[in-house]
Amino acid sequence: MAVADETLQLGLDCVAELPGRRVLALGWAIARAGEAAELSVQAGEIALPILHCGFHPRSNLAAGPDAVAHGFVLLLAEPEAAEGNSAGPSGPATAPEVRLATGPALRRSRLRDTDLPGDLPRALAEAPEAAFALLRDAGANPELDALLQAGAPPFGAFAEVLARLPAVRGRAVEGAPPLEELEVLTSAAGELLVVLRAGAPLPPEARLEVALLGLGGARAVAVPLPPMRTSLLPQALVAYGRFDPAWLDRLVAMELVAMVQPAAGERLHLRARPRPAATPDFLDAICRAAPFAEAATSAGLAVLRQVIAWREASFLPTLASLAVAPGPAGADRLPRIGLLLGADEALAARLFQVTAAEFERRCEQLLILGEAAEEVAQPFLRRGRLPVLLGAEALAALREAAGRAGILAVDAAGFAEAVGRNRPEDAFAQSLGAPELALLLALHATAGAETALADTLARLLRQRRAAPGTGGFQPVQRGWSSPHAAAAVNEHLARLWAAGAGAHG
């Protein structure tokens, strides 16, 4: 442990060379409390540009009673002239140094000190607070995202520190009482909900911060995440935020890194995989309590209502605009895209084997969604008469088509039912124009009752067919945390659906 006996101190823990003439410095600083301290990097009289400067708590650093201690991370762009103390065009270069100044007082630390470690992955592993700060900031700063690209894939310079962090399996947080659960959910609208549940009351100092990583190709990427809105409940911390939903199409999975402060001076870092959730499940998580914990009904409901208010402020105008948006001229002449939803049962492949021609006659492309999409696609692929896209590719194609082309939506189970009645043509009566497709996707993302798009489609079609005054939102039946949460969420969903119904009302 470093011991500071003066009120202005500066130290470097690691200085690492990065590709592109970048230098990352990890260090610490102690300064008198209440006084402005300035951090800079100088090579003689030349100030080196700081591309990123971040501070983080240093729990292993003891400052005096009148001082404050922080860790810091500096990302520098190393100019040509400063390289290797070689002579530049303006004369002999001076070795760069980090400076900490408060008024006339100054501390310096040489950036090129040969005793400084340069192994960044190891340094980050030993300084998880610094690593977390870098991950948290990487989403907003492409310069920091480069740290994920250097070193072992998929996490680059963060490989060691992430490997050391406890991973939450399911929801259970082990060995960190009073913390019991960490639930991380994403919605199709690009929302992130992090709920940390405890078995005992949390103090007012309790904090929760998160960083979000995306896994798609060989390398992880930092997902830009605007500041989360965090609420403290008696026995839980709830953080809500939004990211660009386009990431959901590009990524196979996400990884959340959480910094948890269950009490003043205590910190731990956790990893968890966010779980995609339909809107009711997503919102109800706010009110769920940890097992055996006392349910904080009123406080949880207050946060739920706040999140609902944020959602409505954002989503209602979008849905309303989609509800009244006219389709592009000539949309009906665009290629017909077949959308086969709810292909969840492998046995369905037999049905599509003997009815593939029905789709080939009506569509120019077929998108298949569902758990058994691979199997269901086989008859079409073998026949080779209709281009077929599955899963994420199908969803991407659907989003691309939204607002531009119409779709012929066929629910797999509904199709079976129609064929069983000897009326297959009934199943093809559900065509959605370009604006309706955009509305469908928006409703599913913001107000879908199930993760399956088929349910949202069924609701939309029911709403479309309903006589005036009927066809209201059918409440979602599930194991709600409380009837009050059920009422709040169902009323919220009903408002969103009503906004989307404008075009058909």
Partner: protein, 424 residues
């Protein structure tokens, strides 16, 4: 109706050389009758032996098996034998069938043939006409097509997803819907669907199957049986002789008959029952609790063991009554046809194809299904010589060859062109 000029290909779920069920025998007898009448006809039957062999060793999918006869391996089909897992083998068979010089494909059954094969053949031969004879209700009922409830053995009168779920709680409503839709999608595309009984036609109609033509044409019993003379037996000698013909499966009601026998014997000790098609051990294996009844029957009960179907009519002449006590509906049991051909009246369960094919007080007597007491009552009634004499005189013969071929020609005929706007 003009006879079909082009060739007919009969495609069957089994060649009778390997399995002698009612459906395959009916198909084979049709093949022989058509060939004897100078029609161009090809017989293609599934072969279980070849299929087992083909599971482990290379073997041609289709093998010539005689003049205009072929057998095929169904190795590569799904476990329920309603579709093909191996599209290559399916397509090999489709290519073979499509290449045959015929204008009508007459399928007997779809099990072991695969609805996907039928679909592919329909697509490969849009010029041909497709005819199907339905021998049972497998499309309607997952319980071997019996329409008997799995738990209670009660009769089922109508298919619906929830009813089916009660019989098969490990299934899902979606799976039932996919199964029905897959079968319906193909069966409804046939030009003609032939039903051997009104009963099975009604069941398929209730299920939702509509095809342009769905005639009832009884299975043909075959030229050889039709050629046999119909000799009335001596009612006094025959009245108390009862016979059961067939394999003792759990649906055939042999247990009902064996329970009825001691009661019938109390009313008339002269009654004798012969079980054709099973040994004593076969019956006890299936119904071990019936051993006391079998012992009690003593010399009044005889197990005659297996018999050759070709001998059925002659064997039926050796008894005064043929008893068909099935607890399931039956469709058009060949045993009933054989008995009628033999001129032997019948005692049958009062349901389904049995009640339809055995007109009460014309071809025989009915008893309450699965009710040994009622069967015993009817056996005592039947054992009276005057009853046997009356019904022995009135029992109807079966359909003749010319009538059968004419009915087939009507089913094979091209569908008349529809007027624009006319309803189907």
């Amino acid at each position: 109706m003009a006879e079909t000029r082009g060739g007919v290909c009969i495609v069957v779920h089994s060649h009778p050389d390997f399995s002698k069920g009612g459906g395959e025998l009916a198909a084979w007898r049709q093949f022989e009758a058509m060939r004897a009448a100078g029609r161009r006809v090809t017989f293609v039957g599934a072969c279980e032996v070849g299929s087992l062999y083909a599971e482990t060793r290379p073997m041609e999918t289709v093998v010539p098996f005689g003049a205009d006869e072929y057998v095929f391996s169904f190795a590569g089909m799904t476990e329920d034998r309603l579709a093909w897992e191996d599209p290559f083998r399916r397509d090999t068979l489709v290519q073979f069938l499509a290449g045959l010089d015929c204008e009508v494909y007459h399928f007997h059954h779809y099990w072991r043939l695969g609805v996907d094969l039928i679909d592919a053949l329909m697509e490969a031969r849009p010029d041909a006409r497709f005819v199907l004879t339905l021998h049972e209700m497998l499309a309607i009922c997952l319980h071997h097509g019996q329409m008997v409830k799995t738990r209670s053995r009660e009769l089922c009168r109508r298919e619906s997803p929830l009813r089916c779920l009660a019989c098969f709680p490990d299934q899902t409503l979606e799976r039932f819907a996919y199964r029905k839709a897959t079968l319906m999608a193909v069966l409804s595309r046939f030009d003609s669907v032939i039903h051997p009984s009104d009963f099975i036609r009604d069941r398929y109609r209730d299920w939702g199957l509509t095809t342009p033509r769905d005639p009832v044409i009884e299975n043909y019993l075959g030229d050889a049986m039709l050629a046999q003379p119909r000799i009335p037996g001596d009612p006094a000698a025959m009245a108390s002789r009862f016979g059961f013909f067939g394999q003792p499966t759990s649906f055939k009601g042999l247990d009902v008959l064996l329970r009825a026998l001691p009661m019938a014997l109390r009313g008339n000790p002269d009654i004798v029952l012969t079980i054709f098609g099973a040994e004593r051990e076969d019956a006890l294996r299936l119904f071990p609790t019936l051993e006391p009844m079998i012992e009690a029957a003593g010399p009044s009960l005889t197990f005659a063991g297996r018999y050759d179907p070709l001998d059925a009519v002659e064997l039926m002449r050796s008894v005064g009554w043929v008893v068909v006590p099935s607890i399931w509906w039956e469709n058009s049991p060949v045993v009933i046809q054989e008995a009628r051909r033999a001129g032997t009246p019948l005692i049958v369960s009062d349901i389904g194809g049995m009640a339809e094919k055995v007109l009460r007080d014309v071809d025989g007597l009915h008893f309450k299904r699965a009710a040994p007491v009622d069967l015993a009552r009817v056996m005592n009634q039947a054992a009276r010589p005057e009853v046997r004499a009356a019904l022995g005189a009135s029992v109807r013969d079966v359909m003749g060859r010319e009538e059968f071929l004419a009915a087939l020609d009507a089913a094979y005929a091209p569908r008349p062109p529809r007027l624009a706007g006319a309803a189907e």
